[in-house]
Structures are given as structure tokens and as C-alpha cells.
Symmetry: C2
């Protein structure tokens, strides 16, 4: 994605596909979205969509193909282990219409990790299968690597392993201006500030203003979140909004 002259105004976007029957069945609470979202913000990349789909090839292909044409980077989590329900690599190969092959470097990684050829059982060798032309993403936790093909980054689902892979991948990505954020806490319900917030948003079209109701201990309050890439403008909007809240 590197360009000779980088456009400072360019907005970089990403999407996440969580391959996860265990999330959809309620067995597991997803923790990967939040980690990825925060990492992308720090790199100047906007997470534009997340989809959780079941471990069904057609559904994975549909989500990946829809998103990889819509954003700069797509990440997937889950389904790259050695068992029969790990179908991500095959699904990604079919999404791109390229063959799934034994990736020699990935096989060597497994050989190193498990110590001998006979320890790399057929089930484990499956973890060295990637679409042809894929680059590996290293896995310092459990050996079996993730991989990149086109603009799609295929990672493990286990949070600890996913995080190591994501951190390694993130370093290689080009991003744009960092989106800064400021939060102003308002001790009243949203409706107390709604009209003034709308007016302020009109005055600062370059600042994205969000209002998030909080309900705690029987009390309604509101978190007002300002986001933008221009620090002085953001600070100015924050000061004005803080005064408005004080005057309520």
C-alpha cells in the first residue's frame, strides 16, 4: 500500500471478520474487537465494520469478499488450528480463487516448534497450508503462524495469540492522521444537552461528536466524546463543550 508521496488527508480503513461459532452461541465473550480497535486508532486507521460469522465456508467467503473491496485492510480471527472445524485458510483461498498449498516456510516453522518430522502430524501440518503467495505472520506463542494474502490478515482466535500476531502485522501497515479523542462527562441525561450539542456539532463539522448515555446506580448521565485529527481544534471544542455542561 506504500506510495511515493503520502497524502496526509487520506483516510485509512479496516474491517474485522470474526469467525466464531463460539461467539454466536454465547459460549464466549469476544475480546478481540476491542484490542484491534484500539491498536488501529493508534496507527491512524479507522475500524469501519466488524462481522461475526459462523464457521461455514460460504459465509466466510461472502464477508471477506464484501469487506476486502471496501476497506484498506481486513483482519480475520479464528479457525486456523488443526481440527476439522478450522476452515479459514481454505475459505480464504476460495475467496481469492487461488489454490491452498503447503507453505514451505510455515512447515519449517512447525518443524522447529514441534522438533521432528514425525511430531508434525497430518493435523498439525494442516496449519502450514495457506493460499499460494501468502506471507506469514509470526506466532511467538504457539508456533503455527498466521498469514497475509492481498489486504487480508488471517490471525488466530485465542486472544493472547491474536494479540501477538496483530501487533506484528500492525507495525507493517500504513495509516493516516491519528484520530484524537476527548471525553466530557455530563452529569445529566442526554436530553439535557441534546440541543446544544447539535448546535455545537454544526459549528465544528470537522469534529465528530458522539453522545453516550450512562446508566449507573439508578442515575442517568452522559459521556460526550469528541474526535478529530486537529489537536488545537479538538481542544477548543472541548473547552466550549465543558462550559456548556457547566452551565446546565
Amino acid at each position: 500500500m506504500s506510495q511515493p508521496l503520502k497524502d496526509p488527508q487520506r483516510i485509512y480503513t479496516a474491517a474485522l471478520v470474526i469467525i466464531g461459532n463460539e461467539i454466536l452461541s454465547g459460549r464466549t465473550q469476544d475480546a478481540n474487537t476491542n484490542y484491534i480497535a484500539k491498536g488501529l486508532v493508534e496507527r491512524g486507521i479507522r475500524l469501519s465494520e466488524v462481522r461475526v460469522v459462523p464457521d461455514i465456508e460460504d459465509r466466510i467467503i461472502e464477508a471477506v469478499n464484501a469487506l476486502r473491496n471496501a476497506v484498506d485492510y481486513v483482519f480475520t480471527t479464528g479457525g486456523i488450528g488443526p481440527t476439522h472445524d478450522d476452515i479459514t485458510a481454505q475459505s480464504i483461498a476460495n475467496a481469492f480463487g487461488i489454490p491452498l498449498i503447503l507453505h514451505e516456510e510455515a512447515y519449517r516453522v512447525l518443524l522447529d516448534h514441534y522438533g521432528s518430522e514425525e511430531a508434525v502430524t497430518p493435523a498439525r501440518a494442516k496449519m502450514a497450508m495457506t493460499p499460494e503467495g501468502a506471507q506469514l505472520i509470526s506466532n511467538p506463542v504457539s508456533g503455527a503462524p498466521g498469514f497475509v494474502i492481498g489486504n487480508v490478515y488471517i490471525m488466530a482466535g485465542v486472544p493472547r495469540i491474536m494479540q501477538a500476531m496483530f501487533d506484528a502485522a500492525l507495525e507493517t501497515l500504513e495509516g493516516g492522521a491519528i484520530i484524537l479523542s476527548r471525553t466530557v462527562e455530563c452529569p445529566f441525561p442526554e436530553s439535557a444537552i441534546a440541543e446544544q450539542l447539535t448546535a455545537l456539532q454544526g459549528e465544528y463539522p470537522d469534529i465528530d461528536m458522539g453522545s453516550y448515555p450512562v446508566y449507573q446506580n439508578g442515575e442517568h448521565s452522559t459521556s460526550l466524546v469528541l474526535r478529530g485529527t486537529d489537536e488545537p481544534r479538538l481542544s477548543e471544542a472541548e473547552r466550549v463543550l465543558t462550559e456548556i455542561v457547566k452551565g446546565l
Copy 2:
């Protein structure tokens, strides 16, 4: 969705659209998916997909229209408050191509909640706007109701309020056979059980077998999850799998 003769084999499906800049920016960790997933399982409804989209009308419309034609029930969370960034009701109206109107019953609910006509400010009155023909979903926590239009259930994003709305909506939904699940813990990595699990899956095509790697305190183990609607078959598969794990 009620039918004169209920088909016991019918599989009921649902999807969730989370309207959430705050999830995509990493500011908030989603908690609604897990609550909804668990509730649907207990009702015999399968959560088939989750999408997190930004607070942008076109993106909401695209997600809702894609999913409402693919599943029995669509739920949305977020964006139904009084502020300028609350655009869900308008987006849903446009997704269905029907006008957004002041819902008289919703307005009476707000009047009751806030106590007088003048307390129902224009910002608050916005929370009584629904697509024409919508049915309300009551909100015992903070007054402003959710609503149902077609097969789409529009709910608040604040977990405590969403949960009350979801519980009320869930009672009205028709579901199919309850999906039961059993977990067998395997003290070894996935690759130790992969081949035998694949063979077992072949013997029990009616049971969905999932394998989830666990990495804790530097140790790799595996949760094996069996799912199905036939209790005796599920128990039988569980017994066989438990024996396999003991023999490893």
C-alpha cells in the same frame, strides 16, 4: 411468524446489528452480543451473524436490509436517544421505505415518564418518532421505548436498558428446538485430539463438534464443545468423546 402447524424441524435464525461508533473506536467493549446470543439459544433461535457498523445511515440501511431478508429476526442496538447522532429510527424507516412519524403511544409514554408536555422537549420528542406501523417495546428503565417493524427489533445500546427490551421482545418470538451443548475439557493442545475428533464428527453428523484452544498460564489445552437438539444422542457423543480424551 406463527403458523397453524408448527414444523418441529424448522430452524429459526437471528442477526444482530450493533450501531456503534464507540465499539469501533475501541472506547467501549461490546457486552450486548453475549447477552443476546445466550437468550436466543434458550429460545431455540440461532444467532447467525453480528455486524458492528458506524453511526452512518447508509451503512445501517445496508446491514439491516441484507440481514432482514436472510434471517427470521433482526435486532439492532444503539442510536435511539435524543441527540443528533441518534439516527437509527430514521435509518430503519428509510431501510423499509416507509415514513418516520410521531408514534402517539410512544409520545404518551414519554409524557408519562417526564410528567408534562413542556418537559417533553423537541429532543426528547424525537424518541417518540418511529417508522409508521411500528409496535413499541417497553423500556422500564428510562421511559423511551424501542420498537418493532417487520422482523426488525430496535433496541437501546445501554446494556441495562437493552436487556430489559430484549427480554420483553424475546417472550414474543417463536423459536425451534433448543440447542443443547456439552463441553469436554481436554488437557492437551488441539492437535492431540484433532484426528479422532474429525472421525467422531463423521460418526455423529447431527452433532456439531467445535474445538477451542485455550492458552492459560503458559499451558495449551482444548475445550471440545458438542451441540445438538437430541439429548440422548448428545449424551452418547459426550460419553464417547470423554473416553477418547481419557485415552490420550
